[in-house]
Subunit: 155 residues, 2 copies
Amino acid sequence: MPRPDASLRSFVGYDMKRAFSVIQYDVNAVLMAFGLRMVTFSALVVIRDNPGLRQTRLAQILMIERPNLVLILDDLERADLVLRERCAEDRRAYELSVTEQGAQVCERAVRAVARHDARMTEGLSEAQCQALHRALQLIERKGRTGDDTGSVSRA
Amino acid sequence: MPRPDASLRSFVGYDMKRAFSVIQYDVNAVLMAFGLRMVTFSALVVIRDNPGLRQTRLAQILMIERPNLVLILDDLERADLVLRERCAEDRRAYELSVTEQGAQVCERAVRAVARHDARMTEGLSEAQCQALHRALQLIERKGRTGDDTGSVSRA
DNA sequence: TATTGTTATACTCTATAACTATA
DNA sequence: TATAGTTATAGAGTATAACAATA
């Protein structure tokens, strides 16, 4: 047997866990320069693209629990990247938006992560890279119970 | 924008995190029937394939820290699936091996995970599935500092 | 009564320092 | 002194129950 873990290499879950742990480590290193982690980065990008978003909906989109999102937003608000504003129609809710600084940091962080992504997939053709994305999204759909079909209000 | 997280979908890390969380949840559900988790399953398979393995080497293979492996092996030993036997040449070390029961559980768990794997990649051709494995392993190698070249003693 | 955001909490995973026993 | 396995511990990440304010 060439590798001591050869048996496990036939399972996508094993290869994916290893590949992901490598990516996670690297991306977090890239994002640290912006004071961000993977989750706070993801939240920042989605809020920028969907201004007026409410927390419950954002939690659905990112597939995280509402209580966990609170700390993520506290983090982003403390760094002056995101605003929570009381919703006029429903005063229980907040409307989320990025600040001017948040938009700038988001833009630069996206570019940095894109550069890192390019380095990680270096050696794959454009077609192979697209095939990878499609395969991952197909696998994600297999496990979905999910109602991620709803549209999001845009300002 | 079709999806609220469309910007993030261009990053392999994002697609991979979501696909992996789906797989992890599912595979853990499959393994629960055998009293195993993903890590204990991985350890069991590698020990079966590399009898006489020492803990430090197993930790390297699975890319986990030695202290964390201890609890994993405690778990496997308590379930009578794995044996720790004092090494004759070096009495600090243990030689790891699977019990008769461990071999049987391993065999059946491998088959169950393989069936689940087939379901997850259903819709991908054989070639596409191989391409997925190759892409994931390529990404893993990008982040390696690593010395995973050493061979493992086989009984 | 139900929902939004929140608090408190617990459980897993992961990472590091320091210990013991052997070498 | 260095190494193998271990202990203790701390930090993330993640999950659930229950609360206050509002609907």
